[in-house]
Subunit: 213 residues, 2 copies
């Protein structure tokens, strides 16, 4: 059971809370658009109307907490929809796809964070996703610094932001482990730097990867 | 990879559109309550606040159609929540559980109807469900008769009711195949009969099974 192959025009952005993904995504989009290419910027969970409704359900604090397997399957349900209805059609017409989070988030949050079996996550990836980014930029920042940044943003923490520090330490360790295991796909960006520096490093990593490809 | 074992106080009700499950469920509940036992009557998709929200999403015709894998994973997400938060706690305190649909519905609708791989459904069942009913009553009725009955009920057909006849023929065939493969768990009830007759047959099947157990 081999992992899906990376697509040469599909770039994902990963990282914990407060890593600055939104700013970086805009910088990457601008860099690619400067070359005149079509760029689809999307996010997970989300990326289609139904997938965005699943996202809302996942983050909604009004119902009982989702059990770990429920959360995992909702994430992959949204991903299956996103891949089939948005991502593969965009790649097929030659567009670049920039996704704020993709399957690595499930390995990090539901696998590392919640302790679910990585073999099951791999089975779901193989069965219902079937594609990986060619390049994954991991914005890495220490948990305390990331949470401090993120806490300035929302008045009410959502379901995942409400987790404890050890949860986010496991998330971070899983991300770093995946990056070490797949050096051809991952670039780790030091996201403890000021936002403009993080964005510049990410754009440089994207351009170096593209020029080498 | 063996299938989960059947639980001696867990009864599921299965069947296509217009098979009369609601009437039968009430008759079964009354028969069990007459003995003074606690009876939890529940349904799928649903059975917890979050799972009912997933149900609403699945049946909502306002968003784009769910892709087959999306539908499958939403069904199992709702089921994981239902099993963990409602069903297992009820069984653990000694209650009877009567469920209007359970995992057999996924084999019939997403497997038989949509053509998804039964091996993947079995993997999801083993990983996130882990329990089967001790008794499954299959209310069997011809597709044309069932749809005629069901069509009197709603003004706007939901996502699944809007499928074509060949879809429902595959659903029915899958149900009957499962019943033939697991005669110890399944009882097939002739649901082409008048509703009171169907309910009486179902109650008699339940009582015979319980007395033999």
């Amino acid at each position: 059971m081999s992992a899906p192959a990376g697509h040469p025009r599909f770039v994902s952005l990963e990282g914990g809370e407060g890593a600055g993904k939104t700013t970086v995504l805009e910088a990457l989009r601008a860099a690619l658009q400067a070359d005149g290419d079509e760029v689809l910027a999307t996010r997970e969970p989300g990326g289609t109307p139904l997938a965005e409704m699943i996202r809302a359900l996942l983050l909604d604090p009004s119902h009982e907490p989702a059990l770990p397997h429920t959360e995992l399957l909702l994430m992959f349900a949204a991903r299956a929809q996103h891949v089939g209805d948005t991502l593969l059609p965009a790649l097929a017409r030659g567009a670049w796809v920039l996704s704020d989070r993709f399957t690595d988030s499930s390995y990090a949050y539901q696998g590392g964070g919640r302790g679910l079996d990585a073999g099951f996550i791999a089975e779901l990836e193989r069965r219902v996703v079937g594609v990986r980014p060619g390049l994954t930029l991991l914005l890495d920042v220490g948990v305390a610094q990331g949470r401090e940044r993120a806490s300035g943003r929302d008045l009410v923490p959502d379901r995942i932001e409400g987790e404890r520090d050890d949860f986010f330490e496991r998330v971070r360790a899983t991300y770093l482990g995946r990056a070490a295991a797949e050096p051809a796909r991952f670039r780790v960006i030091d996201a403890s730097q000021p936002a403009e520096r993080v964005a510049a490093d990410a754009v440089a990593a994207l351009q170096a990867w593209r020029d080498a490809g």
